[in-house]
Amino acid sequence: MILYFKYLRMLFKAQMQYRASFLLLSIGQCVAPLTVFAGLYILFQRFGQIQGWSFYEVALTFGVIHMAFSISECFARGFDSFSVLVGGGDFDRLLVRPRGTVVQVMGSRFEFTRIGRLAQGTIVLVWAIAGLDIVWTAPKLATLALMVTSGVFIFTGIFILAATLCFWTIQGLEVANIFTDGGREMAQYPLNIYEKWATRFFTFVIPFGCVNYYPLLYVLDRTNSGPDIAYMLAPLAGIAFIIPCLLVWRFGVRHYRSTGS
């Protein structure tokens, strides 16, 4: 929506006022996943592979997930820090404006500094693509783009769910981090390396499997059964994940409006 971009422009201007700290924070955002990736690299040097996946294959999922996470973090930062908005009573201000709550919350914060992580993810992804021994066709690249998009929607959905929790309680929000940060760290690796119950949870409840497993199989020519198109379009399920999250959000807003705070 055009309004959203106007919000972004405003926030960009605001954050540019603090140029030095912006730069430092962006660098910091880049270093964090870098150390994790360094660890990954070192472990692969020692072990050679993880349950049948080679280094570049895992690097691919790593890049995809971190790109998705950083993009989602940029956009959904308003939801991530929603506890501040609600706690300070500023949500009422949003309710007095003739626009939907979702676009306003999204427009309330935008962390441009997360670009650091995005840059890192992109570099890893490009490195992985270069290092992989496969033929890159247009459908594969499209699938890759879909994977990132799907990841963005899933993470944004989780952020929205975590924010909805704020309508009921401010405490225990850290538990939501299990799904955002934790989800990110888990999804870095192809899903099937985990125990069965974990794999199942992250396929059916929070569909990371639609980002880092099924389409991955297609991209890496490891599909075994079923038509290729099914693997390619799996990320769409991830995109659909956001719909129940938005419904929960609306329920939360309704609750807020009937109980006051």
Binding site: I27, T35, F47, I50, Q51, G172, I178, G182, Y194, E195
Partner: protein
């Protein structure tokens, strides 16, 4: 000395009140530990050659890391202190630079300890009853445990001493997050908190052993599981003491100098 003890006690008791946050933290730590062990297990499944730590030792390492994260992680937020520095309200805390070091040290110590006490017991309890290989192992003998406790305590003192340099750097840069993140992350990596040191390539291990960071996490945790034998452990304790003394003295001196510059400039 008495002021140090009282500020330490105050911060400790204050920290213990944050029960709900601690509970949420425990859940998070638990998830991380479990996930990490799952990942390593997947690595080990088709491992070629003998890994430097057995999966059981690794599980113990990871659970100790999660349980005592507050005691070993370099990146630990004390926003109160940061805002104090950046807003210039530090003027209120100025007595003499020497006292300031001790004051902050005691405060940070209390903070970390209170956070750790609330979380370590639930995590360790649950970790003890998990199915193998996720379970935390008991130390091979009693003396290993004693050595571990000593190493952990010295490690805590050491990590606070290192973190003091972070706060001093904030004085210079006036921006808490920038310098902290980079320094904290690299420090944690070098402490063995991203991956245990034995997994690193030998050239990297040499660098790590030369730096003080590993003595906060890597050393105590491996003493626990017996990965580091007793005689090495005893020498290690001595090395910890040496690092602790030198970093404390250096930090004290540096803080004094920085404070004097701040006072002179009037900002």
């Amino acid at each position: 000395m008495r002021t140090y003890r009282s500020v330490f006690k105050l911060r400790l008791l204050l920290g213990m009140q944050y029960r709900a946050a601690a509970l949420a933290g425990v859940a998070t730590q638990f998830f991380w530990g479990f996930m990490l062990i799952m990942i390593y297990r997947a690595f080990y499944l088709h491992a070629s050659g003998q890994p430097p730590m057995s999966l059981e030792e690794l599980a113990s390492y990871i659970w100790l890391q999660q349980a005592f994260l507050a005691l070993v992680a370099l990146w630990f937020r004390d926003n109160e202190l940061f805002t104090l520095i950046t807003t210039g309200n530090i003027a209120y805390e100025l007595c003499r630079p020497a006292d300031l070091y001790g004051f902050w040290y005691a405060k940070l110590l209390g903070m970390r300890l209170s956070a750790a006490i609330l979380r370590c017991i639930p995590i360790l309890l649950v970790a003890a009853f998990l199915p193998a290989p996720y379970r935390i192992q008991l130390p091979p003998d009693a003396s290993a445990f004693v050595l571990f406790a000593a190493a952990l305590l010295l490690g805590l003192l050491l990590v606070v001493a290192i973190s003091m340099f972070l706060y001093i750097s904030v004085f210079v840069t006036m921006s808490p997050t920038g310098s902290m993140i980079v320094f904290g992350l690299i420090g944690e990596f070098l402490a063995g908190l991203t991956i245990p040191v034995p997994y690193m390539p030998s050239w990297l291990q040499q660098i790590v052993y030369a730096l003080p960071f590993r003595w906060t996490a890597d050393f105590p945790f491996r003493v626990y599981s017996g990965n580091i034998p007793h005689d090495e452990a005893l020498i290690g304790l001595a090395v910890q003491v040496v690092w602790l003394l030198s970093l404390t003295l250096l930090g004290r001196w540096l803080l004094g100098r920085t404070m004097r510059k701040v006072v002179v400039q009037g900002g």
